[in-house]
Amino acid sequence: MADLVSAPPDLRDAAGYATSLAAALTDPSSPLPGFRGPEASTTELRVEHGRALLAELHIQGWNRYGWPVEAGGLGGGARHRAAFYDELSRAGIPAPEQNVILETIGPPILRFGPDLAARFLPACLRGEESWAQGFSEPEAGSDLAALRCRASREGPDGDFVVNGQKTWTTLGHLATRIALLCRTGSTESRHRGLSMLLVDLDSPGVTVRPIRMSTGTNETAEVFFTDVRVRADRVIGEVGQGWAIAMYLLQYERGMYAWMRQAVLFGLLGQLAEQVPAGARENGATRRALGEARLATAALRARSGVTVRRLADGETVGPDASADKLLLSRAEQTVLDVARRVLGPMFVLDPGAEAERWRSTWFYTRAASIYGGSAEIQRGILADRVLMLPGENDR
């Protein structure tokens, strides 16, 4: 299939694309409906499902819309990608797990490292490789600018040698490469002395250990770097530009990621409604609880939709995006708290896979107010930069 400009007219705008994709995902003569849920029970199986799904979607080009031609896509923008996640959810097909990371790292690599994007992004779209995001460290969580993982330049060719540790790296043990935020200046330089490198995780000196989370699955990993050589052409953007790239990235984490999650949450609400025990369906308390969950998700959908639209139009999304993150954690946690209450004994006692999915997802949603800048960090940003309240150290 050629690029978008010569694509059939009904695929050039996101609405036409959404309609055509919806038809393709339910076409009984295609293998795509075979990817319908339920979601696999382990992270490893979910990534495997994602690989197979991406490979299949890539044949007809469906997952290439929204990515530029130079990086293996078919053109179009964030609206196409937003429609992609919405339609997968509508069709009951779990979105590829690895796209959670692609959607956060992809846009900054396209923007700041187009050569790297051209080299490596096509393989992500084919499902052949996946990425990880190396931000948090044991001593640098909410205080990200305190990070210590160091990249020193050595030798005449300007290569880097990386030493240090990352943690809570989502899908780290399954990824091919990591976008590593590391220190190239002095420790005192805080956010000014940071750079971002795209590092191969099979490089000598890299050790990855999965972390089993309270969900029961290996969602994240620890990544250790000991004298890992990284070529100079793996810097995303410029040396010293790491913080700016990380901030650019957070817009997508707060925009497109939130959009992906609202699609998932609406899917879960539909499943929950089907699974409400017969005796509880007429119950006013059940209805109110489900209504609260729907309300929180509807607000997330509306707000993240606005933000995705702004990103698609090339606007810079400022501190206001912290509100999106707060709405995300409220929706995530409300939906699963309601599921726990409404499902009652099933959630507590049933040993089956379906009940385990609800339990595991309940624990997963607890992370929403912690990852990508905790709820406390988001409230601080809003207080300082939107509401213009006095700073916490002001007297």
């Binding site: 705008d13 937003a82 509508r90 509807a298 707000r303 698609a312």
Partner: protein, 328 residues
């Protein structure tokens, strides 16, 4: 068509100034002078959101909601005002509800009755033999009246499915407008609280520097942001269920910002002189009009159980590639 940013800012300022004048503002006259029909023709959604947000912010009282509901119902001619039913008051032979403000002699007022196939949209000439009593216990500044009319004194305009569909359109439009009014009032409350905590000093520092205070207001802000986005969605997808969600979420967000603002403002925020109680009173009233948050939330849950179909997000349905520079 949508207004550009400069037009929006200008219109907001104009409305803000007109509505916040001391004393009672004759909103319909003010709108007529502004050429409101032309503004609506240009951007109905944007203009309606601005008007009701500023009305809420200024705590202005007006029957502007009537025009919104009537426009959505779309009768060619006829009633110029609306009687809002209060379910717990009405009986099969008596229409009993609220009128926003007073009416002049011989005004034609629209009101719904019944539901589904037995739905009717009725027209009442008013005031006739029906006395209006002021409803001023909670919020005298709203100038609401209670009106009782025998069903036999009213003329049916539409019946059955046609009436039911028409009223559903009116409800959706009215709920979107009320959501905006709640958001406007909520923003005013947030501004009052932010000003208070920036100025008030205790323990040698401004109380707005305490994390618990900052976080309460930031949470309230996020709720208002979500409510505003939902109103925008409700206009864009036109669906009654999104309009209902928007009103319910706006009412919840209003309650949240109010609770947090009352807490951080201390005793001064609880005085008669302070505007917080007037926003509380107005908020409770707006919540009660056209379905309270509790009722709408219960309906939203029932919808889900009945197999609710999520509307496709029309915000995605925009300018084709090639005419706009998309993100690289």
């Amino acid at each position: 068509m949508t207004m550009d940013t400069a037009t929006t800012v200008l219109l907001r300022e104009t409305l803000h100034e007109a509505l916040s004048g001391n004393g009672r503002v004759d909103v319909p006259a003010m709108l007529a002078e502004l050429g409101w029909d032309d503004v609506l023709a240009e951007d109905e959604a944007g203009a309606t959101r601005l008007l009701f947000e500023e009305q809420g912010r200024a705590l202005a009282a007006s029957p502007a909601l009537d025009a919104v509901v009537l426009r959505a119902i779309g009768l060619a001619a006829g009633p110029t005002r609306v009687l809002y039913p209060v379910d717990s008051w009405s009986s099969p032979d008596m229409l009993d509800g609220l009128l926003l403000g007073s009416v002049e002699a011989d005004t034609s007022v629209l009101t719904p009755s019944g539901a589904g196939t037995s739905a009717t949209l009725l027209c009442v000439r008013f005031p006739g033999r029906s006395p209006a009593e002021p409803v001023d216990a909670l919020d005298p500044d709203a100038h609401w009246c209670r009106v009782r009319v025998a069903v036999s004194d009213a003329q049916p305009l539409l019946t059955g499915e046609a009436a039911s569909r028409a009223w559903a359109r009116g409800l959706a439009a009215g709920r979107r407008a009320l959501a905006s009014e709640l958001i406007g009032s909520g923003r005013a409350v947030l501004d009052l609280a932010a000003e208070q905590v920036r100025d008030r000093r205790q323990f040698g520092r401004t109380i707005g520097s305490f994390q618990s205070v900052r976080h309460r207001l930031a949470d309230a802000y996020a709720g208002l942001v979500g409510a505003a986005a939902l109103v925008e969605s409700a206009w864009a997808d036109g669906s009654p269920s999104t309009a209902a969600c928007a009103k319910a979420f706006a009412a919840r967000s209003h309650a949240e910002v109010l609770a947090n603002a009352m807490q951080v403002s201390g005793a001064i925020g609880l005085t008669w002189e302070h505007a917080l109680h007037r926003h509380a009173r107005r908020g409770f009233g707006l919540d009660a009009l056209l379905g309270s948050a509790d009722e709408l939330v219960t309906d939203a849950g029932a919808d889900l159980l009945a197999g609710f179909d999520l509307p496709r997000f029309p915000a995605l349905d925009v300018t084709p590639v090639g005419t706009r520079e998309e993100e690289a």
